[in-house]
Symmetry: C2
Subunit: 187 residues, 2 copies
């Protein structure tokens, strides 16, 4: 792995553990096995590093969802696949997801252009639009539904990650959780 990736990898872990400002660049450089100056060769400022970290993992999540979700099936099946694959990615990338959440609650988030956010949300938004058109889900503002689904996923993840479930129980819980979601939004 080259030095740039190593810096990003270490930064993700340390920042998620301690927060943006409590994580000095010196510590990141040290644990990544590079000199302090090297970090600033790859990232002009510390803020640049944080923004790069965000877009990197956000892109990975979006690509994963796009790759695993097809829109050819029925609405409820598409929803199901979307839900499961999102949970799976988050579970495999817990630190990255924690970082994304931290980032969303920080002032940095205001620096992200609206178009970029829209792009990341587009899959779910279009799916909801389709569901509304077909009368499969409750007639409510699409942003409300979107917000409820996002927080539902976060709640499920919070539950899953604070326990140490067997793989079987993990899948069972994920399925039950999806049922809850579907009971909530279906007409």
């Amino acid at each position: 792995m080259d030095k740039k990736d190593e810096i990003l990898k270490v930064a993700l872990r340390l920042i998620t553990e301690s927060g943006f400002h409590a994580t000095p660049t010196s510590k990141i450089a040290k644990e990544a096995g590079v000199a302090n100056g090297t970090l600033f060769h790859y990232f002009k400022t510390k803020d640049d590093l944080i923004l790069a970290l965000y877009t990197k993992h956000q892109n990975e999540l979006r690509l994963f969802i796009d790759k695993h979700s097809t829109k050819n099936n029925s609405i409820d099946s598409t929803f199901h696949v979307f839900y499961i694959s999102t949970i799976n990615w988050i579970h495999e990338n817990q630190t990255a997801f924690q970082f994304i959440q931290q980032f969303h609650q920080s002032p940095f988030y205001q620096l992200i252009p609206r178009e970029y956010i829209n792009q990341n949300e587009s899959f779910l938004i279009e799916l909801l639009q389709q569901g509304l058109n077909q009368g499969a889900i409750k007639q409510l503002p699409i942003e409300l539904l979107h917000s409820m689904i996002n927080s539902h996923i976060i709640g499920t993840i919070n539950y899953l990650t604070t326990r140490n479930l067997s793989l079987e129980d993990f899948h069972k819980t994920t399925q039950k959780s999806f049922s809850l979601l579907w009971d909530m939004i279906r007409k």
Copy 2:
């Protein structure tokens, strides 16, 4: 208002805006209209200030819920009152709630004793236990239900606060959101 409260009030605002570490004690003191040394007279360290801020508002929320929720009515009615009053408190105390969320995601949270957390969650946990006993809600692990309800509330708040709704629409949305929650957990 005495100086201690003024410090807490300003700290809440500044820390919520910029985060724990990005908010210097000097700035808090300045905006609170006190000298730097005065802040450290009331709070031994900066961490002490942050912990005091957390327990203060967390206590206020708990007292508010205890005060407005009665357990004498039917389960669904008690749930409804709990939900509405929680949303109302959060809406009236958005900054405090944002701070609490920030705090929960920070390493500080590990410093909070488990008993204190249990105490704050006790109302909802007991309510869920009662609902399970009566067969009113789905037979699922109580922690899963608890987690789903918490995140549901956060999702609703996120939606409500990013829009500028009239008081009427605000209440309508809150009611609809509760219906969604109830559809999700009821048997």
